[in-house]
Symmetry: C2
Subunit: 336 residues, 2 copies
C-alpha cells in the first residue's frame, strides 16, 4: 500500500454519520467525495454540512471560513465516480449485514487496489461482511461515535485477515483528521464503545426494573457525576486517582464491594491479583506515583473548566455561578 | 422536624471529602463547622479549603471573595461543640462499618433531636450502621461524588426506617447548596453511582483480560466518546436521542445486540417489552417526540461548548482548534 499517494476520502452513505465524517475530513484539509444511493439523501448532504459548519464556527471550533471547508466536499451521483482515485473509503449505510456485504463486494471491485475500505458499523465485525472478498486484507471497521465531528473517538477494528498496514494507515489518517483513533487488538462483539455502553444500559434498565429510581434520576447520576468525570478521566484512571496509592489501592479497598455488586448481576468473578497487577503496571508506566498529586490537581483543573463551560452554556452567568446545571432532561424536574 | 430553624451544617471528618463539603455549604451561604478526631487533620482543613477556593475563584466559579466564604467555616476541637445547634450533620470518616456505627451512636446522643444525620459513605446503607439507634428515623446516606465541590450529584438513600421528611429536608438543603440531589426509592448495594461505575469497571477489566485493548486505550474510548456525551445526556437520554423515534426505536434496533453482549457476560436477560415501555413513557413525559430534533441540536450545542472548554484547557487555542485533546493520560501516547 502506497503511503504517499494523494486522493480524496470517499464517503458512502450520506446520512447523519456521512455528514459528520464529511466535516471531520474536510475541516482537516482533505478532499471529500460523498455518495449515497438515494438522490434525496444526496441533495440533503451539503445543506446539512453547511448547517453544522456554521454551528462549529459560531463556537470557535473551526479555524477557517465554513465555505472554505465546504469547497472540499463534493457530492457525486454514482458509486464508481465516488471511488475513482480514493485513498480511503468510509462506508456509513444502515446497519444491515446484507447491505454491507453487497456494498463491500462492489467497493472492492471498483476502488483503487491500495484504498482502505472501512465500515462505520457500530457492531458488525469485518469478518462478517468482508471475509470472502479478494481484497479482504484492506477491509476493517472504523467505528465513530455519534456525532463524529463532535466526539473524536474512532475504534479501528481489524479482522483476523486484515493487513496490519491497513489498520495503521487508517489510524494515521484519523489522527491527522483530529480524531482519537484506538486500534483494537482483536474483534469483539460491540467493540469497546458499545460494550461499555451496554454494561451501563443493562445496569440502568435493571435499576429501573428494581424500582431503585426513575429514568430521569438514573440519567442525572450520570450527567452530574460519573459522566462529568469520565469526560476527563476514563474508568481505570478514575480508580487510579481516587485512592492515594493508585489503582492497586483502589482494588484492595473497593474490589470486594464491586465483586459483590457483580455477583448480584451474574458476574461473580472478581478481578484477579494478576489482572490488577497488569492494570497497575500499565497505569504506573503512564503515571508514576510521584506525579499522582499533580495529576489529581490536573483532573480538578479540567473539571473546573468543564463546569465553567457548562454554566456558560446553561446561561447561568448571573446568580450563583456554582449552581448545578439545569438538569439533563428537557423538562427539568425536582432536585436543583 | 422543624423546617425553619437556622443553625450550622456540621461536618464530621476533615479529609478530602470533608473539605469538599465545607466548600459546598460555605459557598452557598451556610455556616459550617468541621470536626475531626485527629488534631493533625483539623489543622489541615482551612489551608485545604483556602487552596480549593482560590482555584475556584481563578476559574470564575465563585461569586464572592474566597475569604468571605472562608469566614463561614470554623474548625472545632470536640464532637460535642461541633454538633451543638446543628441542623444537618454530614459524616465523612473512613469507610469502616465499626467507625460509622460508633460515630452515629455518639452523634445521635449529642446532636439536636431535629438535626438530620447523614453519612457520605459510598457503599454502606444506613440499615447497617443506624438500625439500633433511638434516632434512626433521622439517619440516612447522602453520598457525594469525588470531589463534591466539583461534581454536584448527591445520592440520598433512606433506610426503610428513615422518616421521608428527613430525606426531603436533605434534598432541599443539597439543592439549596447548588448540588444535584437524587433520592433513591430504596437501599441497594452500591447505590446508583457505584453500580454504574462497577458495571463499567467489570467490563473494562474483562476487556483488558481478554486482550481487546490496553488500559490507556480503554480509557480513551471513554474520555473521547462515551464520557464526553454522558457528561451531557445520561444513558437513557443518550439512547433516546440516538434514534429518530426515541428509546423504543433504540431498543427495537439495538436491544438484541446488547442482549447478546450481556449473555456473553452472565446477563442473558434482555429488556422486556414492559420495561422498555415504562422507560419510553418516562422519556416521552420528559421530552415529547415533537421536541426531539431540538433536543438533539441542544445536545450538540452542549457538546460544542464542552469541546471548546477542552481545547482552552488543553492550551490548544493555536493550530487546528478542532484537534483532539492531548489524551486522557499523563504520558500521552499514540493516536492524536
Amino acid at each position: 500500500m502506497t503511503e504517499g499517494r494523494s486522493g480524496p476520502v470517499t464517503l458512502v452513505g450520506g446520512g447523519s454519520m456521512g455528514v459528520g465524517w464529511a466535516i471531520v475530513f474536510a475541516r482537516s484539509g482533505l478532499d471529500v467525495r460523498v455518495h449515497d444511493a438515494s438522490a434525496d439523501v444526496r441533495r440533503g448532504v451539503l445543506p446539512a454540512v453547511a448547517e453544522r459548519l456554521a454551528a462549529l464556527a459560531a463556537h470557535g471550533l473551526l479555524d477557517e471560513a465554513p465555505r472554505a471547508v465546504m469547497a472540499r466536499v463534493r457530492v457525486v451521483d454514482t458509486l464508481a465516480d465516488a471511488l475513482d482515485g480514493a485513498v480511503h473509503v468510509q462506508e456509513s449505510v444502515p446497519e444491515r449485514l446484507d447491505l454491507k456485504r453487497e456494498l463491500f463486494r462492489a467497493m472492492d471491485e471498483m476502488a483503487p487496489p491500495d484504498a482502505v475500505l472501512a465500515s462505520s458499523t457500530s457492531s458488525l465485525p469485518a469478518s462478517e461482511f468482508a471475509a470472502d472478498l479478494p481484497g479482504r486484507a484492506r477491509c476493517l471497521v472504523a467505528h465513530p461515535a455519534n456525532p463524529p465531528h463532535l466526539l473524536p473517538i474512532v475504534e479501528i477494528v481489524p479482522a483476523p485477515f486484515t493487513d496490519p498496514a491497513a489498520a495503521e494507515r487508517t489510524r494515521v489518517l484519523m489522527a491527522r483528521a483530529g480524531q482519537v483513533p484506538v486500534v483494537l487488538k482483536r474483534e469483539v462483539n460491540g467493540f469497546i464503545y458499545n460494550r461499555l455502553q451496554g454494561a451501563v444500559l443493562r445496569e440502568a434498565y435493571w435499576m429501573l426494573e428494581q424500582g431503585i429510581a426513575d429514568v430521569a434520576d438514573i440519567d442525572r447520576v450520570m450527567t452530574s457525576g460519573l459522566g462529568l468525570r469520565w469526560s476527563i478521566v476514563g474508568p481505570f484512571e478514575t480508580s487510579d486517582l481516587n485512592y492515594r496509592g493508585g489503582l492497586a489501592e483502589h482494588a484492595r479497598r473497593m474490589g470486594e464491594r464491586y465483586r459483590q455488586m457483580g455477583a448480584e448481576r451474574g458476574q461473580p468473578e472478581g478481578w484477579s491479583e494478576a489482572l490488577v497487577a497488569r492494570a497497575t503496571a500499565e497505569r504506573r508506566a503512564l503515571l508514576p506515583l510521584e506525579d499522582w498529586e499533580a495529576r489529581v490537581a490536573w483532573r480538578d483543573e479540567r473539571l473546573m473548566a468543564a463546569r465553567g463551560a457548562e454554566h456558560k452554556a446553561a446561561g447561568q452567568a448571573n446568580g450563583a455561578p456554582y449552581n448545578a446545571p439545569a438538569g439533563s432532561t428537557a423538562a427539568g424536574g425536582e432536585g436543583a
